[in-house]
Symmetry: C2
Amino acid sequence: ERSYSVTLLPGDGIGPEVVAVAKDVLSLAGINFQFKEMPIGGSALDAVGVPLPDETLDTAKSSDAVLLGAIGGYKWDKNEKHLKPETGLLQIRAGLGVFANLRPAAVLPQLVDASTLKKEVAEGVDLMVVRELTGGIYFGKPRGFGTNDNNEDIGFNTEVYSVSEIDRIARVAFEVARKRNGKLCSVDKANVLEASMLWRKRVTILASEYPDVELTHMYVDNAAMQLIRDPKQFDTIVTNNIFGDILSDEASMLTGSIGMLPSASIGASGPGLFEPIHGSAPDIAGQDKANPLATVLSVAMLLKYGLGEESAATRIEAAVIETLNRGFRTGDIFSSGTTLVGCKRMGEEVLKCV
Amino acid sequence: ERSYSVTLLPGDGIGPEVVAVAKDVLSLAGINFQFKEMPIGGSALDAVGVPLPDETLDTAKSSDAVLLGAIGGYKWDKNEKHLKPETGLLQIRAGLGVFANLRPAAVLPQLVDASTLKKEVAEGVDLMVVRELTGGIYFGKPRGFGTNDNNEDIGFNTEVYSVSEIDRIARVAFEVARKRNGKLCSVDKANVLEASMLWRKRVTILASEYPDVELTHMYVDNAAMQLIRDPKQFDTIVTNNIFGDILSDEASMLTGSIGMLPSASIGASGPGLFEPIHGSAPDIAGQDKANPLATVLSVAMLLKYGLGEESAATRIEAAVIETLNRGFRTGDIFSSGTTLVGCKRMGEEVLKCV
Ligand SMILES: CC(C)[C@H](C(=O)O)[C@@H](O)C(=O)O
Ligand SMILES: CC(C)[C@H](C(=O)O)[C@@H](O)C(=O)O
């Protein structure tokens, strides 16, 4: 019997609630799992004084996949950078080397009304943002504070990409596009930034290895517009770390139901990191109000992209759809005529369908 | 009688058509103008081999205000960076020192259907993005191409802000917010970038000088979401050059009618640069199809922010509204029941109302 070890990182706010549900769903997937739960983010800061304890990273590294809930909260908002919950997230991404962040944004027919877009614009949106996750301005050096020639204080960061960093994320994106609709749009700011010029050059060169994928290029400002004007024009988008941060959140919000959206972060080898895209929502934490479906769908991505267990992944995705079809909704996606349930109950309903 | 010199930079594509209309409108504003027309962008490249000829910059600098049409086109897309039309735009911004780019995005009741947002979300949106325009990653050094420690090719740019650069754009934004609804949202990525941490610190310090303005902070990824979720929550947004490039385009597209949107770029002293936010639209150039209203409204900003001629500005804005109320529409904003007109005719109709 196949057997995998999964590190659970519940984190902060609603993280523990949604991870608990997702763990139960995973346990029913017909595969044998060993779970280990470890602290990260604000709860790790409270417990041991750092946002990513060494044992957490070590455990994560030696497991087959990592499931993260959410991190952060008002309580730690004023902390210095190295003591911020977010820093734990950046550290585990770097520590696991998960350079490719896959963020699907699809408008489900059941939830099309949740979008602030007109129905005819939102209907049928189904795109995937492939965001570079361990390079660019997030990690580039030099960075910090200093003074300029006028002896004035400055803050500075470096946006930098190397050929190998661009090539590996581009390859992931071409592969993803190939398995989807075969359309890849690379987003950059090559009319201004040298880092983007190299990006565009390498992506263009690699395209010859993927003749079945149709590659286009778009400037980031135009992409931010086109996502609103006509999101259906996109299939797969590939972009750098900071543009991906912005555009993937923009794309998510097009669906109007970010409580439904999962993500996968994968590297060249080693375990992937899977997490819902929503935050820790401290205002509803501990009240059994959170929507666990984004985390349940993250578990589906864990099975598919992390473990190659496609059929179990498909079963979980189908269970989520069936649960929606049966009318169950948490508060964030509730509309009249549907059945309002809490986090736990939503989990139980999904379990019935797996 | 008051008298001003205005440099006209028609540029490429539809630029000459829309600037011609706007010039006629300006001429009727009841003020005396001397116009000088100079080349920029692709047409300057074709004529004299550079995207911003010295004489163009000199003329612009010595005038009271500069009106730009649009630049760029397929023809020059493959040029090297220093021979791109866009480079002319970056050079004139830097040359004039226009560090503050004001970009209003308002949904007019007449055009609310043009938005891809649901009516109840789009209705009443009225925000202003104040974008820093001559600093940050657009101009930061070092930049270029090189090799890293592994002898791999890299491309790199520097995001850098000094205290004085932040302070001057923040002051403009506080002043703008003060004249609007008194709400300023500063957008940054201070949970990751040092340049943003300094930005947030300075903006927070300056807030004490503007007790009548309510200051909030938002991360750029969240701002990209919130603009779609509930754009009415925003009044004035201030942000850096690259985030402003992205968010102002996103905000524009919320209106669904970017053919209507003007912009103003102003410095500490010297002439401001006024231009529609739309591009050169080479596909419809020379066909009398362009919407001149964004350029006409840019002329209103020129009068208001560039010359302090508020009442003439208000008259032009009112003329545009009246023209819309009379049912005239160019193709980009046409809907059934309105009267489809070309660029010139739209200009004539506005002139009748001034
Ligand atoms: C919390 C923050 C550091 C993080 C990022 O910017 O990557 C988040 O916005 C995300 O997209 O996962
Ligand atoms: C053409 C380009 C260089 C420019 C920019 O990025 O500033 C444009 O997108 C704008 O916003 O005016």
